[in-house]
Amino acid sequence: MRALTYQGSHDVRVETVPDPVLQAPDDVILKITATAICGSDLHLYRGKVPAMKSGDILGHEFMGIVVDAGREVTRIKKGDRVVVPFTISCGDCFFCNKQLFSACETTNPNRGAIVNKKDIRPGAAMFGYTHLYGGIP
């Protein structure tokens, strides 16, 4: 598939990257029909945010049609047209249960941008926002 990749400060290029495949039983594959550039993408574009690697795919404002879904996906199905939130949240953890979805403590394997961490768990992973937030995709 074609994707916009970061190659360095002020250097983004559309390249051909591997097609996505279902990896976990609650994964969904989306054929994107529209996407937008965010002001926060410009921080990445300008090289101001650490933990970007050459080849990272950018973009976190998107929508499309579900073309495949894992067996544990229940709320949406193939053919549904959906808009995807940029925050990746599990829906049932300490913070998600308080509706603080950007603080979800189960989705981000990295540390986020916190400085004085004191061992707290990270907040939610985000689409297209460096290897501080999951390196997604």
Partner: protein, 236 residues
């Protein structure tokens, strides 16, 4: 949990911003405590500032000041949301706001700019050199423009230490600060309803549409504020 189904009757452009900037603008307006009769200043007439203005109007704000230094953006905001535009290259925004609010200040300020705020050459230099994480210019203006007991709402991205955070003034004025990454999933269903009922039309801010193949151009014009660029939407 996450993706929200959208009805076929709504075109992509009308619902795309549910992914980020519309919930971000809405959370910013809620964090600012905006309700019927509120006065607010929004720093930054970019997409999040515009979505904040749209949501502020929906929540009943009576007076919206908007601060930027690109006249085309201020003109669009004035035409679309009836804001009172302020160009910070020409005047000190907080000073102007105080003079125009009975020498008291607005109820709330929304910082829709974040850590790369312009207006202080030294802080921009320090941020670029990574001596500080963020420029404090926008937040100092927020603190100065808001009335005692008011609120400062920050959807703009900040990281690390900030230069020159005038905490003493914030204390003196008894301010409330609310901020952070958007809890997108919390607001998507409600905002979809507002789009369906015609209360919100986020698609009006789109200025450029192009194929994914031209994405690099999209980034360039958005970054450089060229061609009166407000928001770029890409399709396959």
């Amino acid at each position: 949990m996450g993706p929200i189904k959208v009805p076929a009757v709504l075109s992509d452009e009308r619902v795309l911003f549910l992914s980020d900037i519309l919930p971000t603008g809405y959370q910013a307006a809620l964090n600012a405590g905006i309700g019927p009769g509120s006065s607010v200043v929004i720093f930054g007439a970019g997409p999040v500032g515009l979505m904040s203005a749209a949501c502020a109007r929906m929540l009943g704000a009576e007076r919206i000041f908007m601060v930027d230094h690109h006249d085309y953006r201020l003109a669009f905001a004035k035409e679309t949301y009836g804001v009172e535009p302020i160009n910070f290259d020409e005047v000190d925004p907080a000073e102007m706001i105080i003079q125009n609010t009975d020498f008291r200040g607005v109820d709330a300020a929304i910082d829709a700019i974040g850590f790369e705020a312009k207006g202080s050459a030294i802080e921009t230099a320090m941020t670029n050199l990574k001596l500080e994480g963020s420029s404090g210019k926008a937040l100092r203006q927020c603190i100065a423009a808001v009335r005692r007991g008011g609120a400062v709402s920050v959807p703009g991205v900040y990281a690390g230490f900030i230069h020159g955070f005038l905490f003493g003034d914030a204390f003196e004025k008894g301010l409330t600060f609310k901020m952070g990454q958007t809890h997108v999933q919390r607001f998507m269903p409600e905002l979809l309803g507002h789009i369906e009922s015609g209360k919100l039309h986020p698609e009006v801010i789109i200025s450029h549409r192009m194929p994914l193949a031209k994405a690099a151009t999209g980034y360039e014009i958005f970054d450089e504020k060229e061609d009166d660029c407000r928001k770029v939407v890409l399709t396959p």
